[in-house]
């Protein structure tokens, strides 16, 4: 099974919202769909789901055009909502009914999800009586209600406290492990690194980075160096060709041209009798890659 998105484009008037977006998810897991605010993520997701017409491009699932009326797709949108005045359990049964589930099928699924997400006690309350976090749990339950094969989670962890964020992560992990195809959009790069192997990064509607995260990092090599020592070492760093990025109480961060330059610096520091407290040479983080690709030209909504 695979989800293939090819050459998706959308314009609103003269403004290009998404330009030639293509990616493929060939195996179950969590696929990262990243981008700055206003980069075109939500527009792309809406086009994938068929909510929004495409100017061009195709979306196929198992070789056939994806039809959300036939395929069960779970969607937790960034702009979340429930009917504020209506009873939670009745809303869940409604959501189940529009997904084609009978009441008998829906009841055990709701029971399981409500128990799993620890919101059983709220089932008879109105949505407006629930905290934002609990409303978010109800919405995640709604997204997973029909046991969908494809799940799209747009900022699933935003606004959650650490306990509930961990709960959400455990549910996402559970879905991933049960063979679901999950597309996750988030601005929390640590979470993306925790879950995702493959990604696509959008900026101003265009793909600026794409592929396997480990491969991307490997290609870039270990170029970030953080050093902390008991004596000044800036002269050595300059001599070795390192570029200072920032200085913090935890040490000084540098960009290195190659791992050899870093090794040369370490050797010189030791030879100079400097006591090295910290010497951390690592690949760029996703956060750094994101900022590098999009940071210079952020499009604020």
């Amino acid at each position: 099974m695979s989800l293939v998105v090819e050459h998706l484009s959308k314009k609103f008037g003269e403004k290009v919202a998404v330009e030639d977006l293509s990616f493929e998810i060939t195996k179950p897991g969590v696929f990262a769909f990243l981008g700055t605010n206003g980069a075109g993520k939500s527009t792309s997701i809406r086009m994938i789901l068929g909510m929004l017409s495409r100017d061009s491009g195709t979306v196929t699932w198992n070789g056939a055009p994806l039809d959300i009326m036939k395929e069960q797709v779970g969607y937790l949108s960034e702009e979340r909502g429930l009917y504020p005045k209506y009873n939670i359990i009745e809303q869940m049964f409604y959501f189940a009914s529009i997904k084609g589930m009978k009441k008998k099928e829906a009841a055990p699924a709701i029971d399981y999800l409500f128990s799993r997400l620890r919101i059983d006690e709220y089932r008879k309350m109105r949505a407006e009586q629930l905290s934002k976090g609990n409303q978010q749990k109800v919405q995640l339950a709604a997204a997973l209600l029909c046991n969908p094969q494809i799940i799209i989670l747009d900022e699933p962890l935003s606004g959650l406290d650490p306990v509930n964020a961990d709960l959400f992560k455990s549910v996402i992990r559970e879905e991933r492990d049960s063979g679901k195809y999950i597309i996750m959009s988030s601005h929390q790069m640590e979470t993306i690194e925790e879950f995702c192997e493959d990604l696509v990064l959008l900026h101003r509607g265009k793909v600026v980075m794409q592929g396997n995260l480990n491969d991307i990092k490997r290609e870039r090599g270990r170029e970030n160096l953080t050093v902390k020592a008991d004596k000044p070492f800036m002269e050595i760093a300059e001599r070795c060709g390192l570029t200072l990025v920032e200085e913090t109480p935890n040490g000084s961060s540098f960009k290195v041209r190659s791992e050899e330059d870093a090794g040369k610096m370490l050797k010189e520091m030791i030879d100079s009798g400097i006591n090295v407290i910290k010497f951390d040479l690592r690949e760029p983080s996703l956060h750094e890659l994101f900022v590098e690709k999009c940071g210079g030209d952020v499009n604020e909504d």
Partner: protein, 453 residues
């Protein structure tokens, strides 16, 4: 395929709405008020005409309805007169007196406790007259009763005089029958006062009620669409159903909710009438129908009910069909437009300004329908109002009920309404889908049409 799932939207919207406190309370309260009005409409005339009805009922049973126990008659004419049948039907004892006896009796009843009337029938210069005297002591006899008896005797004298002159009894009965008088302008059918009142009141009430129902529930469609947009729940719904299915389900559900409320309130009216039936004016008058009333008795009450019955004689199943069709078609028209207004906004606070154009159209339609009803005249305005889809739902049922629109005109008006609904629904299908995910400022009509291209 685009409409798949509309039944689920319909079911959820319908169920959720009829469970709201505002629906339950408003329905119960209005139904009770209507029941009370229906009850009072039937029962109040009984209270107001109580004495007359009581007399009529007693008269129908052959009981004496007067404060007179004995009627003394002195016939001083040459005409042979008999009042036995009248006295027997009225339950009054009858005694015939000579001139002297009559004068003596008049003197006697001036201060006795006998409840009596002495009527002296005379003829002078070809003029017949009845002179009646009633007991004066301690106001034993009601003057009105004496007058009624005297009038009845006078009628009897006239009838028997005609028979005496050779006119057959049947012809006399025909000539003596009550002659009703009506005034109406040339070219118009004469109508009773009750009919005139109903002609003026029914269309106005019908316009107002239809406007309130159609318009308020159309606005609820806009509100419902706006809630789904502003709460962003629409994004979730669209992963399972198409926008067209959502708007169809919502509009039809609201239409049924309003129809349900309409029917419950109507049932309240019927219930109020049914409760009043055992002691209301309709049943009392029905029981008295056919009874020959003495002059001055409850004939007014019977006439009242007969007039009401005649006024509603044109009500049949087709009137209800026209009313329901007008309601549904009018609702679809305004609810479709209201749904677009709701979809044009992203924040609830913009709702009132989005609905404003629909409100203007609705109010304009209402006044187009209402003013011809107030003036009661058939003119160009009333003709336009009958065929214009923004006003015809409010005017057609009353026009058809009162015969202002014949069946052909009614069908034409309904066809125009249906065609207008089809246009609105096609517009909704095209535009709603294009704008439902729009966020940001309120869309104007031009923006909506542009986005839907």
């Amino acid at each position: 395929m685009k409409t798949k799932g509309w039944k689920e939207v319909f079911g959820f919207t319908f169920n959720q709405h009829i469970k709201t406190k505002s629906f339950i309370i408003s329905t119960v309260v209005i139904a009770l008020i209507v029941a009370l009005i229906a009850f009072l409409a039937d029962f109040l005339p009984v209270l107001l005409l109580n004495d007359e009805i009581d007399k009529a009922e007693r008269a129908a049973k052959g009981e004496n309805i007067f404060t007179v126990e004995t009627l003394y008659i002195c016939n001083e004419t040459d005409i042979p007169l008999s009042f036995d049948a009248f006295a027997s039907a009225s339950g009054i004892a009858l005694k015939e007196l000579t001139h002297d006896e009559a004068q003596a009796k008049i003197a006697e009843i001036a201060d006795t406790t006998e409840r009596a009337v002495v009527s002296v029938i005379t003829s002078a210069n070809g003029v017949l007259s009845v002179e009646s005297k009633y007991s004066g002591g301690e106001s034993l006899v009601d003057k009105g009763d004496c007058s009624a008896l005297s009038s009845s005797i006078a009628s009897g004298v006239r009838a028997q005089y005609l028979v005496h002159l050779g006119v057959s009894e049947d012809n006399v009965a025909a000539a003596m029958a009550d002659v009703r008088s009506h005034v109406s302008s040339a070219g118009e059918e004469p109508v009773s006062e009750i009919q005139m009142i109903l002609n003026a009141v029914v269309p106005m009430i019908s316009s107002i009620v239809l406007f309130i129902f159609i318009f308020s529930y159309s606005q609820l469609v806009a509100q419902s669409v706006a809630i789904e947009k502003s709460s962003r729940i629409i994004e979730y719904l669209l992963t399972s159903i198409k926008p067209l299915a959502i708007i169809i389900g919502k509009v039809l559900a609201m239409c049924c909710v309003s129809l349900l409320q309409f029917i419950i309130i109507g049932a309240g009216g019927v219930l109020g009438f049914v409760i009043s039936l055992p002691f209301g004016i309709v049943s009392k008058a029905s029981a008295l129908a056919g009874t020959v009333m003495a002059e001055g008795t409850a004939s007014g009450a019977v006439d009242f009910v007969n007039d009401v019955g005649a006024a509603f004689s044109g009500v049949d199943a087709t009137v209800f069909i026209v009313m329901i069709l007008s309601f549904i078609l009018g609702f679809l028209f305004f609810a479709g437009l209201a749904g677009l207004a709701g979809a044009s906004i992203s924040k609830m606070e913009d709702l009132s300004s989005a609905i404003q154009p629909i409100s203007i159209i609705g109010v304009l339609g209402f006044y187009l329908a209402y003013f011809p009803q107030v003036t009661g005249e058939e003119n160009t305005m009333s003709m336009v109002a009958r065929y214009l889809p923004i006003s015809s739902p409010f005017i057609l049922p009353a026009d058809y009920l009162l015969g202002k629109a014949d069946i052909v005109q009614t069908i034409i008006s309904i066809v125009i309404m249906a065609a207008a609904d089809a246009v609105v629904m096609m517009l909704v299908a095209r535009v709603y889908e294009a704008i439902i995910l729009h966020t940001g400022n309120r869309l104007k009509l031009g923006d909506m049409l542009k986005m839907s291209k």
